[in-house]
Symmetry: C2
Subunit: 390 residues, 2 copies
C-alpha cells in the first residue's frame, strides 16, 4: 500500500501474526475502518486477510485503482475463499473476526466465507496490537500533539467578551481545521458520538450525558446531548476545552481550562490537584506499571485533598482517569479501578484527572503521553495553569 | 420523555407495534442511538423495549436524572427480564434485535436476556417505520432545510480569490455551526465516515473513494480518503458543495455548484441535465411510484443527453440517484436500479443526479423532498443554476 512503508506494515502484521500463533488461530479477516487503516495505511472498503505466517491480502471493493502489493479486487466477500484456493493457498481451519465491532448480520455472512472454519473473536488481537505504538505511529501522534498545542495557544486571541460557548468552540474548530485537523472523532464501540470535541463553560459541565466521556454538557439538541449548550461565557466561570487532535489519522487528546478573570479558590485548588495527579502518574507510569494502581493513585490524591466528590464529575462520575489513544480515542490501556492492563513501552495514554465544581464549571487538564521504561512523556506540551481569556 | 410529546411517541411506537403484530414478534429491544432517538426523542445509553401491544419501557444506563414516563434505571441488560417480571409482565417468546447494526458480541449478550425467546432481526422494522416521516419529523426536516438553504445563500460572500477548497469548506462549516448545525453526520452501517460534508473542486471530484457516497475526493489524509484535498479554487473549475444539514437532529441533504467565472459547455449542459432530472423525478415521485423506475427515468435522461459516462461519477460510479434522509443520511427508500422500494407519502428523499466532468469537476444539484400523493415537494429551496463566486 502506497501510504505506508512495507517495513511498517510488516511490523504491524508481525504483532498480529504473533498473537495468532499464540492463540492457534490460522488467520483473521477484518473490515473495520480503523483496523483496515492500521493494517494497510489507508481506509478502503473491503477486507484485510492476515494469516499466522504473516501473509497479508487486501480484498478491496472500493475505491477503484488502489496501488500496492497484495491487492485483489472483489465484489463480495463470498469470492475470498475461491481466490485463496486459486492462489494455491490452504483455507484457514480457524478464523478470527471482529466480533466486538462488526454487526451480527455481517458476521453471519463472513462466517460462511470459510464454512469449515472455527470462528473466534479477533477484536482483542487488534486492540492489543494497536495499544503498543510503533515509532512511526508515535511520530504521527507527536505531529498531532504539536498542532494540537499550537491551536490551543491561540485560544485567548479567539475570545471576545460576550461570546457563547458555541461561538468560541466554532472559532477553535475553524482554526483547527485550517491547521489540518481532519475533524473526524474516531471512537470504538457502539454508541459514543462526538462532533470534534467539547467546550464546557460554567454549570453546563455538570449536566450528565449518556456517553462514557469524562465530562458532560447538555449539548444543543437531544439528538446529541453532550458539550456546549449556548451558555454565555461570564466572569468566574471556567471554560474547559477538550477538542479533537486528529491531524494525522492519529489523535492526541488534550484539555486546558480558560477563564474570564479569577475563579474561586476551590476550583483553583482542584485544577492544581489535577496538575499534580498528571505529574505523579506520569512519573509512576513506567512500562510494567499496573493501570488500576495508577487509577487508585489518582483517586487517593483527590481524596487526600478533600476533592473526591468533584473528581471525574459531580452529578455523574466517569469511571476512569485515563485511556489509550491512537487511531481511535478509546484504545487500550484503560486507567480504571478494575482494569487488568499493564503499561508497556509504546502505549499512548491520555490522562485526564478532571473535577466539576458546582456553580463554577470543570477544571483539570489532559495530556497525551507515550509510556517509556522510565515514565510517561507528554506529547501535548503547553502551559497547564488556568489561562486568562481577558 | 420530555423532549417529545407523548402523542408523537405513540405514533412512532404504533408503527413499530403494527409491524410486530404482522410479523408475529412479541417485542423488540433496541439500543442504537438513532433508533433510541427515534423512539424516545433523545439519545441515552440503554435500551428501548417495545411490545406488540405498544407498551414501551426505557431501560436507561446513563445519563442520571432522565425525566419522563416508563423510565427504569439499570446497570446492565441482564436485569431487564427480572424487572419486567417484577412488573407482572409476560416475557416475550420472540424478540426482535437490531442484527444489522449491533455488534455480534452485543447481540450474543442480549440474546441471553430472554433465553427462551426466538430472536429475529428488527433492523427492517425500524428502517421501515423511520422511512415514513410524521408531521413532527417533517417539521424538523423543514426547519433544517430552511437553515441549510440560508447557509448556502451566503457561500459567495465567504469566498476569497486564491482560497483552497479546504479554506472555503471551513468557512462554510463555521457559518453552519454558528447557525446551529450540530455537525454530526449520522450514517447507518459499518463503514461510511464523513466529517460534516464534502466540498469538491475541479479534478479532485474524480478521485474515487472507498465510501458509497455519490461523489468522491481524495481527502486530506489516507485515514479519511474523501472530500477536499487542499486544491486551490481556480477559474473554470466547479466547486460542488454538499455539506451537513443537521440542524434539528434531522438532516436535509443539499448540493449546489459554484464557480469562478464560466465553466465549459459540457459541464453547463450536465448541470442543466441534473436540474431537469430532479424536476422530472419530483413530478413522477408520487406516493406509489417505484423507486427503480425513478432511477431508470434518471439514467434514461442522462443517456438521452449523451452524458451517461459522466453520470453519478466518471472513474467510479455510484449506484443510486437518491436516498431517504432523516435521523441518518442513508435511510429508505433507495432510488437505485435494483431497489424494491415503493414511495409512500411522508418519505423524505434526497435526489442527487450528479455528473463528474473530467478537468472541470462535479456538477449537479441535490435537494431533499417530501413525497406526497401528487409528487415531491422540496425542502431545500434555493437557486439551482451554477452560482458565481466572483
Amino acid at each position: 500500500m502506497k501510504h505506508l512503508p512495507q517495513s511498517e506494515i510488516a511490523l504491524r502484521v508481525g504483532k498480529i501474526s504473533q498473537q495468532l500463533n499464540a492463540l492457534n488461530t490460522d488467520a483473521i479477516l477484518i473490515s473495520n475502518n480503523a483496523n483496515i487503516f492500521y493494517t494497510s495505511g489507508q481506509v478502503f472498503s473491503g477486507y484485510a486477510y492476515i494469516t499466522k505466517d504473516g501473509e497479508t491480502t487486501y480484498f478491496v471493493r472500493r475505491p477503484v485503482g488502489l496501488e500496492g502489493e497484495n491487492i485483489v479486487y472483489i465484489h463480495k466477500p463470498e469470492q475470498i475463499a475461491d481466490i485463496l484456493q486459486a492462489q494455491g493457498k490452504t483455507l484457514p481451519k480457524s478464523i478470527g473476526l471482529e466480533l466486538d465491532i462488526t454487526p451480527y448480520s455481517s458476521i453471519e455472512r463472513l462466517r460462511k466465507v470459510f464454512p469449515e472454519a472455527v470462528v473466534s473473536n479477533a477484536s482483542g488481537i487488534l486492540r492489543t496490537a494497536r495499544s503498543v505504538k510503533t515509532a512511526y505511529e508515535i511520530d504521527c501522534l507527536t505531529r498531532s500533539g504539536i498542532k494540537h498545542a499550537m491551536v490551543y495557544s491561540h485560544i485567548p486571541s479567539l475570545f471576545k467578551e460576550g461570546m457563547t460557548d458555541l461561538e468560541l468552540q466554532v472559532e477553535i474548530e475553524r482554526l483547527s481545521r485550517l491547521q489540518g485537523c481532519l475533524g473526524q472523532f474516531r471512537i470504538s464501540g457502539e454508541s459514543m458520538e462526538l462532533f470534534m470535541g467539547n467546550l464546557l463553560c460554567g454549570e453546563n459541565a455538570d449536566n450528565p450525558t449518556p456517553y462514557d466521556f469524562a465530562m458532560g454538557g447538555a449539548g444543543l439538541n437531544p439528538s446529541l446531548p453532550v458539550g456546549c449548550d449556548g451558555s454565555t461565557i461570564k466572569p468566574g466561570m471556567t471554560v474547559m476545552v477538550d477538542m479533537n487532535g486528529n491531524f494525522t489519522g492519529y489523535m492526541t487528546d488534550m484539555t486546558r481550562v480558560f477563564s474570564v478573570g479569577k475563579v474561586d479558590e476551590l476550583a483553583q485548588k482542584a485544577h492544581n490537584c489535577s496538575i499534580r495527579i498528571t505529574r505523579e502518574l506520569a512519573r509512576a507510569g513506567k512500562a510494567g506499571a499496573e493501570a488500576k494502581v495508577l487509577y487508585e493513585h489518582a483517586a487517593d490524591i483527590a481524596r487526600e485533598e478533600g476533592l473526591e466528590q468533584y473528581f471525574m464529575g459531580h452529578k455523574q462520575h466517569a469511571g476512569f482517569v485515563g485511556h489509550g489513544v491512537g487511531i481511535e480515542v478509546n484504545e487500550l490501556p484503560v486507567i480504571a479501578p478494575r482494569s487488568r492492563d499493564i503499561l508497556s513501552a509504546g502505549n499512548a495514554i491520555a490522562l485526564e484527572p478532571k473535577f466539576v465544581i458546582p456553580h463554577v464549571g470543570a477544571v483539570g487538564i489532559e495530556n497525551t503521553y507515550v509510556v517509556t521504561e522510565s515514565g510517561m512523556e507528554s506529547l501535548t506540551n503547553a502551559p497547564e495553569e488556568i489561562i486568562s481569556l481577558s
